[in-house]
Amino acid sequence: MNYLMRRLATFPLVLLGVSILVFVAIRMVPGDSITAMLGTEAGLLTPAQRDSLAAYFGINQPWFVQYWRWIGGILHGNFGISVTYGRPVLDVILERFPLTLELALLSMVIALAVGMPAGIHAATHSDKPSDLGVRVVAMIGQSTPSFVLGLLIIYTLSAGFGVLPAMGEFAPLWQDPLRNLSQLILPAITLGFAFAASVTRISRSAMLDVLSDDYVRTARSKGASARSVIWRHALPNALIPVVTLSGIEFGYLLGGAVIVEQIYALPGLGRMVLDAILQRDYALVQGAVLFIAFNFMIVNLLVDLAYVALDPRIRLGEQ
């Protein structure tokens, strides 16, 4: 419990650091909300027009004043207003987040459901043809960029079979589950393919390590069945690196899968952040990055807690 409290206490500090970093970074990039809106036509503005627009976008104050006002707002639960959406930043983020969360979960389910059995199979059939096959497919999975796989799936389905998930408007899970699944299954496969490849490789190598440990040999010599050795004795220990990998990957996915969201036109968090950066929607970029950082910290914490559940010998926070 102490460990948990200590970890939670570091959250505000980390978030403060992230807030400064994102605030400065986005403003260091040349161009601003005015050039983002007007493009080269911004050159037609008189100084008075530019000042008026700068006031409208809230970029007419010195940086530290802007930062102070933003942080002050957050402490009161106000993340600011997105100039693109004309709505509170938090509302926009929370509207996009369910899709991203669902896509991340679905990809993880696919990755674990495919990757772990494949990895275990490869480890228990080490250096046999099936192991080689799994390793080759895993290598292909890891080295195929998601945009290649995504476009390949879209092209094959549309040109070969004349079908494609409905793109553009997204159907939330609770409104139309079937349509929702039809829209998310292909992006989840696209994301899950590379994810599964990583899981396969890490679970294979972890399993190989564990299978050569003394306690596994002991279990075998005591007459435990092959299945029992793998599932009861070896697997729980081999799971730790898989949990670490999955946690990190899941944390990244919660930040939005920009390329896959672009290809499948999914209105998720990743696409929203990309558009906000391109449109120099400062409040939205800042709010979204803070939100993503917070999620990442939560996931990391859950991963640490999962270690304890998997291996009771691990005592978190002990010196």
């Binding site: 037609l44 553009g168 039809s182 036109a265 209105p267």
Partner: protein, 505 residues
């Protein structure tokens, strides 16, 4: 048993999902449209992005508009007239014109709209086109008189732009322009989810008559290959395309039709004549002679376009072969370089915006290899669009690959760069008395034949001085299902004719 059940369940879910995949809903008389870049805002006086203008043209109306042959035709105004001295422009408004809330469009709305554009607090980029307006009179509800400080023929063309849209005076007063879209155009905006979707419904009160469809649903599909895929599966009826690589694939689909039309926008290699050695006329001319424009077009844009001089307006453009060094002449280029004292060439950097246009990097690469033949070593620097715009506006480049927007009138198109008081003089970095005086003459001349002669001389001089190297104009592309009828593509790229498009059963 449990495993068998799980497997069956998974199979069922997969089949159900694939069935869901196959279900594509289509609503009768709603046009399903897609584009890769969404509008960036709803204030017609402030928005300049291509997609914003295309969306707002369906919702708002200016006083006049231009047709496919770039002739001025009525919109909110049914007629207009310049006074003999060219300093008064009178409009008669359509008595049937109504805003989408049912209130009539009156001269007071016109006056308030132009006052808003001219007010510096608004931040309207188009204000620069209307600085000659000295006063606006509204003798009655259907008449508007613009008093001009000097004869200004191009102002009429500038008024055809949606950046000069007429908005309700009451909405200006309420400060709701930009948050609420209330125009007098053929469609009402029912919903806008930025970067995702727009829903438009027909404006039954539109003075232009009934629209051909009940509504338009615009989906933002950022990847144009995905747009094409969605058209193959008939999810999308109509789409706007930017990338020639994708556009050229459309005719290969039996059920699809590609509409393409040359546009006014032009691809150009902007030189910076304030930076050495581009300060030297002979160096700039050498660059012009060393570039094979047709090869740039063929390689970067798959030949999808037409080599152009500075003027892209068909009625005014000169045959490019008549312009200075439009036939590649490397020997002449080398001679000019030697005469300028740069026989061994020089090094320079060319900037370009990633993906804007999609051919920018390819154009830069072809030009790099062509200029290498005369000893010019080009370093290509591709930037994110906003970073590029920032450098471009500061004139902070040796050379820049650009796709600059065209206008239906050469004065409106070029006064910003080539007049001494031009707002983008700092970008062009080139002051020329001849160009300035030709621009002023063209602005005041009302006789079409004389105007054409003035701008022909302007174009010839500009090509010879070579502050920029004009390359080619490309096409505007739209793709549609073959059962869509009535769309008229135009050189301005407007989608206004969607108002009369019908879906054949």
């Amino acid at each position: 048993m449990a495993r068998h059940l799980t497997r069956t369940l998974l199979s069922a879910i997969t089949v159900a999902a694939m069935l869901g995949v196959a279900v594509v809903s289509t609503q009768a008389a709603t046009l399903h449209m897609a584009w890769s870049q969404d509008a960036t805002g709803l204030d017609p006086h402030k928005q300049t992005a291509f997609s914003s203008l295309r969306l707002l043209e369906l919702i708002y109306e200016p006083l006049v508009r231009v047709d496919a042959s770039l002739q001025i035709i009525p919109a909110i105004a049914t007629s207009w007239e310049f006074s003999k001295d060219g300093k008064e422009l009178t409009f008669k408004l359509d008595p049937k014109a109504k805003f989408q809330d049912g209130t009539a469009v009156t001269s007071a709305d016109v006056k308030a709209s132009f006052e808003r554009i001219l007010d510096e607090k608004t931040g309207a980029a188009a204000r620069a086109n209307f600085l000659s307006i000295a006063g606006i009179d509204t003798p009655d509800a259907a008449t508007v008189v613009f008093h001009l400080s000097q004869p200004d023929v191009p102002i009429l063309t500038a008024m055809s732009d949606v950046n000069a849209a007429i908005v309700p005076a009451s909405e200006i007063k309420a400060g709701s322009i930009g948050t609420k879209a209330l125009g007098s155009g053929p469609f009402k905006l029912d919903k806008w989810d930025p970067n995702a979707k727009e829903m438009l419904s027909a404006n039954k009160d539109w003075a232009g008559g009934a629209t051909g469809v009940d509504g338009i649903e615009i989906s933002v599909l950022p990847d144009e290959a995905a747009i094409l895929a969605a058209m193959r599966t008939k999810q999308i009826d109509f789409a706007l395309l930017n990338d020639p690589l994708v556009a050229t694939l459309v005719p290969k689909e039996a059920s699809l039709q590609l509409n393409r039309v040359p546009v006014l926008a032009y691809h150009v290699l902007q030189l910076n004549p304030s930076r050495k050695p581009m300060t030297e006329l002979k160096v700039r001319q050498a660059i012009s002679c060393a570039i094979d424009r047709q090869e740039v077009l063929d390689t970067a844009s798959l030949g999808e376009g037409k080599v152009t001089g500075p003027l892209t307006i068909p009625a005014l453009a000169t045959d490019p072969s008549q312009l200075f060094c439009y036939k590649r002449d490397v020997e002449k280029a080398k001679k000019l370089m030697a005469e300028a004292g740069f026989a061994d060439g020089f090094s320079a950097t060319v900037i370009g915006a990633t993906g804007e246009p999609p051919t920018a990097a390819a154009e830069a690469q072809v030009i790099q290899s062509q200029l290498a033949e005369i000893g010019v070593k080009l370093d290509i620097k591709m930037m994110e669009l906003n970073v590029y715009v920032d450098a471009w506006l500061k004139g902070d480049f040796d050379m820049a690959i650009a796709l600059n927007g065209g206008r239906a009138d050469p004065y409106t198109m070029y006064n910003r760069y080539w007049t001494k008081a031009g707002n983008l003089q700092k970008v062009a970095n080139y002051i020329d008395d001849t160009l300035d005086s030709q621009m002023q003459q063209g602005r005041a001349e009302t006789e079409p034949a004389k105007r054409k002669a003035i701008f022909a001389a302007f174009e010839k001089h500009l090509a010879e001085m070579s502050p920029w190297i004009w390359l080619y104009t490309s096409y505007s592309y739209t793709a549609q299902q073959k059962n869509i009828a009535g769309f008229v593509p135009t050189p301005t790229g407007t989608l206004f004719s969607l108002s009369k498009v019908t879906i054949q059963k």
